[in-house]
């Protein structure tokens, strides 16, 4: 629980969503969504495509009105405030820069609308472009810039308006891996320097975990879990969160009593309680938390069915009585090897059954191709 101390000083609420419902063509996009975002917080909406994260962002920006529910900004209801009067600015997915204007004029756009004096505009634009390392591109046309540079212009353009909240709609999705990592660091730095509230939308769980103070995991128009990155990773609330954030072995089990759970045909000690007696549960074990040993020394044992080299470690799929586990190991197992497995009570995480329980299976269908589909940006 020390994660709480990593958060910035807890301040007043800046954006509050209350029981938001949105549907398109009869399909429910946001289902009774409520959320409170604090001043200066770096919040990430994380979820698969169609989960409603971008819709939520568009409601905050004012591009979309909810069918029902209220949006508050610093305690004031802003449902009827149009986008151009809201003190939020957006960085769009494909940047949406003005193609007819050069870098300078793009960044100056908001300031010109506010009718700021030319000297002030010049000062601010120069300052913003310096912040995103684009000072030498000030007179360049937009089309002549690379994707990463356009992204920086978009950041400078949004921040030049001194927004209270910066909305980022998958801003790094179009960049290649190396550039994306650099921009993540840069955005994080900007957040710390400016103290502006950041709301980021992404489907990349790594991005969400490494950048945010608070992660909001969404699916099917509902918030599945809100928490710090460590909370979300270590204490997933249901099978969806466990499956979406990182790799997880999600096994059906039975909570025999407090601190005692049965799965894979064996009883284990665990640190969770309060689930009742003899209650069916989902058990999560992260691939890096399984210790591999010889079959004789293992508490449970299985057969290695595939080995994939991943650089730092190997990813092996192990068949334990028909259930395929994924385990990360540095030892050199080979296909067909019999191994033993040891799991520490700390590493066993128990979740209540949910609608997602039946949707997540083992790793038997696992292949790299499937993996790519599920995690397009890894």
């Amino acid at each position: 629980m020390n994660a709480v101390f990593l958060r910035p000083k807890m301040r007043k609420s800046i954006i509050k969503l209350d029981k938001i419902n949105v549907s398109f063509d009869g399909e429910l996009i946001l289902n009774n969504l409520s959320l409170d975002i604090k001043e200066g917080e770096f919040v990430t909406f994380l979820g698969p495509s169609g989960c409603g994260k971008t819709t939520t962002l568009r409601i905050i920006a004012g591009f979309l009105a909810p069918d029902s529910g209220d949006v508050f900004f610093k305690g004031k209801r802003i449902n009827n405030v149009p986008a151009h009067k809201r003190e939020v600015n957006t960085i769009f997915q494909k940047y949406a820069l003005f193609p007819h204007l050069n870098v300078y004029e793009n960044v100056a756009f908001g300031l010109r609308i506010q009718k700021k004096p030319e000297s002030e505009i010049r000062k601010k634009v120069t300052e913003m472009l310096k912040m995103v390392n684009l000072s030498s591109y000030i007179d360049r046309g937009i089309e002549s810039l690379s994707g990463g540079q356009q992204q920086r212009v978009a950041i400078a353009r949004a921040l030049a308006n001194n927004p209270k909240v910066l909305l980022l709609d998958e801003p790094l999705g179009a960049l290649d891996l190396k550039l994306r990592k650099d921009m993540q660091t840069e955005l994080k730095n900007i957040h710390q320097r400016t103290g502006i509230t950041f709301i980021l939308v992404t489907h990349d769980q790594e991005e969400a975990l490494s950048m945010s103070d608070t992660v909001v995991v969404m699916d099917k128009g509902r918030i599945q879990q809100i928490g710090t990155p460590t909370d979300i990773y270590n204490e997933p609330k249901n099978a969806f969160v466990a499956d979406f954030i990182g790799e997880s072995n999600i096994i059906e089990g039975t909570m025999i009593e407090d601190y005692k759970v049965k799965f894979a045909g064996k009883e284990f000690k665990c640190i969770d309680s309060g689930f009742g007696i003899m209650k069916p549960v989902d058990v999560v074990i992260r691939p890096e938390d399984v210790r591999v040993t010889t079959p004789e020394n293992g508490y449970i044992s299985g057969t290695v069915t595939s080995v994939t080299f991943k650089g730092v470690h190997n990813e092996i799929i192990v068949d334990v009585d028909g259930f395929k586990w994924m385990i990360q190991t540095t030892a050199g197992q080979e296909e067909g090897d019999k191994i033993g497995m040891i799991i520490h009570p700390d590493d066993i995480h128990i979740m209540r059954k949910s609608v997602y329980s039946s949707e997540v299976g083992d790793y038997s269908a696992f292949s790299d191709e499937f993996y790519e589909e599920q995690h397009p940006h890894k």
Partner: protein, 271 residues
């Protein structure tokens, strides 16, 4: 310049149907009937400056009216639902499938002194108005005929503007009017320029409209050229010279128009 083999048929086409005729016009414009070189045709052509001026003014007025009517129409079409858009565009195109001559002739019967419109006016108890054979009738005919050529390119450009760019402008504090002034209109200039070109050029050089709706009273360049080739005045040398002068005038006009869209970073100055 090296020409790729697959371009060859087009190069051939362009040579035979554009460059060779152009050279012929230039040769004729500078020739005497006996085949000698002369500047007389050009000098003579400039004596028709009143006709040139009238053509340019009527052409410019028609183009301006087309722009005033066409831009808002294109804007509205680009804003409605996609399936309605195609219906509108279809309706816009259908008249273009009937003969230009027929459509102009129809206007004749409407605008005539004893035509449909005056009959209606008389029926309502008003004095009949002399409408046909006036510059107004010619402009009306040109606007009616050439309006789709203004709307289509503007519509095409407007419908391609990225919605996100408009949202970005709103996001940065621009209200609807500012979004239009600072983003939509500048981004649609390319369509405006090609619309102006596609209306102005045929308007300046038309002879059907001026002949039918202007009677003999409103002589335009097109009529003048026609007279030199098909009329009693038969003089292809003068006709070529007039064509050449017209071509130069149009080139100058288009050069000025294109300036509108030339430097994307200086558009704020126009607005």
């Amino acid at each position: 310049m090296k020409i790729k083999p697959n371009l060859f048929p087009y190069v051939l086409w362009m040579s035979f149907f554009v460059i060779v005729p152009l050279i012929l016009v230039i040769i004729f414009a500078f020739s005497t009937p006996e085949g000698g070189f002369t500047l007389d045709n050009i000098i003579y052509a400039t004596k028709y400056s009143a006709v040139f001026w009238r053509s340019i003014v009527l052409g410019a007025v028609s183009t301006f009216v087309c722009l005033i009517i066409g831009y808002p129409m294109a804007y509205c079409i680009a804003k409605i639902k996609a399936n309605f858009q195609s219906v509108f565009i279809m309706l816009l195109m259908i008249p273009m499938w009937t003969s230009f001559l027929l459509r102009t002739y129809a206007w004749m019967t409407i605008l005539e002194y004893n035509g449909l419109l005056n009959k209606l006016i008389a029926f309502l108890g008003f004095e009949k108005i002399n409408m046909i054979n006036t510059p107004g009738a010619v402009v009306l005919g040109m606007v009616y005929n050439f309006l789709p050529y203004m709307i289509l390119p503007i519509y095409t450009v407007l419908s391609k503007i990225d919605k996100k760019v408009i949202e970005a402008a709103q996001d940065l504090g621009a209200n609807k009017i500012t979004v239009f002034k600072k983003v939509v209109f500048p981004l649609s200039l390319a369509g405006v320029v090609s619309g102006i070109t596609m209306v102005f050029v045929p308007s300046v050089s038309t002879f059907v409209v001026s002949k039918m709706l202007g009677g003999g009273a409103i002589l335009m360049i097109g009529d003048l050229i026609e007279m030199q080739f098909l009329g009693n005045a038969y003089n292809p040398y003068l006709g070529s010279a007039v064509s050449l002068v017209l071509m130069v005038i149009i080139m100058i006009c288009m050069g000025i128009t294109n300036k509108l869209d030339e430097d994307p970073n200086e558009q704020n100055m126009i607005l």
